[in-house]
């Protein structure tokens, strides 16, 4: 379980997030909505442990461990992973090597890349000259190899063409155990009961909702988690009335 309590975060002396309370239980996926600059990415970066995001108050607990001030790699090893919107290029490091790093050499990079139509990129430098959609597939490939228990996605649909949206959506659903996984002959009830993965997804377009049945939606507005509720309903409300109007009510 991820538990965030009374969190206040500053970046360069400026308060970005305040009074954040968030609880993601095993098996749950939450959707994070919010206008540009509302602090969504900052929240993900803070959970991942980026040191420039300074926690001034409150705590972050994951699997019962207080990770409020833990370094990034410790959180990664504890089972937190993130799909970045604009990850850096690492020159000279091949995507294949990156997959091996994520999986600690335990997976077949070739096979895994094929499932994402990404095999031809394995021998290219990580993110070097990748298009928006290619970056998403690269990030998903890395996360698939890393297999974290809490996976955060920063706008997984941005820059993705319609053709690849289904592939990306289904891959995310699979990563978060939100597909029904019928091929392994388990009953739907068992599949649902056995879910352990936790997800936190930032979306503007809402496309991802077509693929991932999310449990809860939250709106981040001016650094505050303003409302929570059914993600589809929130998305509809934002679409019709706008963020400002939406956060006035508590759905």
């Amino acid at each position: 379980m991820l538990l965030i309590d009374d969190l206040q975060v500053e970046l360069g002396g400026k308060i970005l997030l305040k009074d954040i309370h968030l609880e993601i239980k095993p098996g749950e996926t939450h959707i994070l909505f919010g206008p540009n600059g509302s602090g969504k990415t900052s929240l993900l970066m803070t959970i991942m442990g980026y040191p420039q995001y300074e926690v001034k108050r409150g705590t972050i607990t994951f699997k019962g461990v207080d990770i409020t001030h833990a370094p990034i790699d410790e959180r990664a090893r504890l089972g937190i992973g993130m799909s970045y919107q604009r990850p850096p290029t690492i020159n000279g490091l091949k995507t294949r090597q990156m997959v091996d790093i994520c999986a600690k050499n335990k997976v077949d990079a070739e096979q895994m890349a094929q499932s994402l139509n990404f095999a031809e990129f394995l021998d290219r430098d990580v993110n070097a000259g990748f298009s928006g959609g290619e970056i998403k597939r690269s990030e998903l490939l890395q996360l698939k190899a890393q297999d974290p228990d809490l996976i955060m996605f920063d706008e997984p649909e941005s820059g993705v063409d319609i053709e690849n949206m289904a592939l990306i959506g289904k891959t995310i659903a699979r990563l978060l155990q939100k597909d029904l996984g019928r091929e392994n002959a388990k009953s739907v009830a068992t599949v649902r009961k056995d879910r352990t993965k936790m997800g936190l997804i930032i979306t503007h377009t809402g496309y991802i909702l077509d693929y991932v049945p999310a449990d809860k939606g939250q709106v981040l507005y001016e650094g505050v988690l303003a409302c929570a509720g059914n993600p589809r309903e929130i998305f509809q409300c934002i679409g019709e009335a706008g963020y400002e109007e939406c956060v006035k009510c508590n759905i």
């Binding site: 991942m48 442990g49 980026y50 370094p71 990034i72 790699d73 959180r75 990664a76 090893r77 992973g81 993130m82 970045y84 990850p87 850096p88 690492i90 020159n91 000279g92 490091l93 990156m98 790093i101 994520c102 600690k104 430098d125 890395q142 890393q146």
Partner: protein, 408 residues
């Protein structure tokens, strides 16, 4: 034909001539007298002490000769092993070659001037030996010829003169390692190298340096490439050395000839590098590339690069990247000279430190901070060298890996 007396006369006039770049060395301090060593047969090579073999291996020389087309080993001033197993490729000690073949004189000192500076002068006047490698017309070798210039004797100044001639349509790969014995500390290495790449021929020359803390190194090399010829030059140095100064020059003298220079330097504290390369693109269609990667852990690295476009329709690019890991200084001096219209020349130079963003990205995939940094640095050094046989490429990667472990 230039007479040997003439060479001697020129050299004598230049014995005190300082080099254009690099610290000036007082050569009077060093011993240049001959050091006798026993010639070793193939199986005796394998009986060399393990630590010596290891030093040689780290410079790319495998004493078993496995996967090699021929071997030349010089210890101090003396050739201890020399043979070729490749049809169409001759490997000879330079002195023996000068006696055996008249044609050798047609090449010796034709590209490098004996009076360039005190180092060339010294090599001309007090030559120890060196290798002559010639690939006959049309011969294609898959396995590289390996050469090792090894120094064991303390305070020696080793004077070497190498000559490589790749005849028309031939392909040759040479890997040269320079190393010192594990106990040796102080000395000087002067290496004259002249490369002739004939029409449509291809030469890849890889040099790996493995020196000692108080070694001063002054290579002097010049290459001439004819029409359609390709010259690939790789240089790797990741071990401590007091100073290395070299500025190899390449003349692309024939149409559509190509020169590629790749260098990887990891400078440890106290080391002083003044390295680079200059390529003249003299005929239409010539292409040149200089790719340099330098890491300083406390060294002073001066990276020079100069591309000179003298004919229309040439294309040249220089890329110089430096990374300061742990103090030190990196000077990057890229230079482009265009002498005619219609040239396409560019350079990019960047010096910096390992980006936090990249470190954090890798950490979020589970690597520790130090693992992340070494992964990024390893990637920084991983330049894709084109046109090398896969085995030689693997050899270079291995050399980087091995040095990398100690250096970083």
């Amino acid at each position: 034909m230039q007479h040997l007396d003439d060479i001697e006369k020129k050299a004598k006039a230049a014995v005190d001539k300082k080099a254009l770049f690099g610290d000036d060395l007082d050569l009077a301090q060093y011993d240049r007298s001959f050091v006798p060593h026993k010639y070793l047969a193939d199986q005796e090579m394998c009986a060399l002490p393990q630590d010596e073999q290891q030093r040689m291996l780290m410079s790319g020389l495998d004493v078993t000769g496995k996967g090699r087309g021929g071997t030349y080993v010089q210890k101090d001033t003396t050739v201890i092993h020399c043979h070729s197993m490749q049809d169409g490729v001759e490997v000879l000690p330079a002195k023996a070659a000068l006696e055996k073949y008249d044609w050798v004189k047609d090449y010796f000192w034709k590209l490098v001037a004996p009076d360039q500076d005190k180092y060339t002068a010294s090599a001309a006047l007090e030559l120890h030996d060196g290798y002559v490698i010639r690939a006959l017309p049309g011969s294609k070798s898959i396995y590289p010829i390996q050469a090792c210039l090894y120094i064991e004797k303390e305070n020696l100044q080793q004077n070497v003169h190498n000559l490589i001639v790749v005849e028309e349509g031939a392909e040759l790969h040479v890997i040269t390692g320079c190393a010192t014995s594990p106990t040796m500390k102080k000395g000087v290495h002067v290496g004259i190298s002249e490369f002739f790449v004939k029409k449509n021929a291809k030469l890849s020359f890889t040099m790996i340096h493995n020196w000692a803390e108080e070694m001063d190194v002054r290579p002097r090399s010049v290459a001439r490439v004819e029409e359609g010829g390709v010259f690939i030059n790789n240089y790797i140095c990741m071990k401590p050395v007091r100073s290395i100064q070299m500025y190899p020059v390449t003349y692309l003298a024939g149409e559509n000839s190509t020169a590629m220079f790749y260098s990887i330097i990891v400078g440890t504290p106290g080391s002083n590098f003044d390295v680079g390369g200059r390529t003249f693109l003299q005929k239409p269609g010539c292409r040149a590339e200089i790719i340099q990667r330098a890491i300083s852990n406390g060294a002073h690295v001066m990276n020079r690069g100069h591309l000179i476009g003298e004919a229309p329709g040439i294309k040249a690019h220089l890329e110089c990247k430096g990374l300061l890991l742990n103090g030190g200084v990196i000077d990057s001096v890229p230079q482009l000279s265009a002498h005619v219209e219609g040239v396409d020349m560019s350079h990019e130079a960047a010096v910096g430190k390992v980006a936090q963003e990249e470190i954090h990205y890798l950490m979020s995939r589970g690597l520790s901070e130090s693992e992340s940094i070494s992964t990024i640095v390893r990637g920084f050094l991983n330049i894709d060298i084109m046109g090398l046989p896969p085995m030689l490429k693997a050899e270079i990667d291995k050399a980087i890996d091995m040095s990398d472990k100690d250096a970083l």
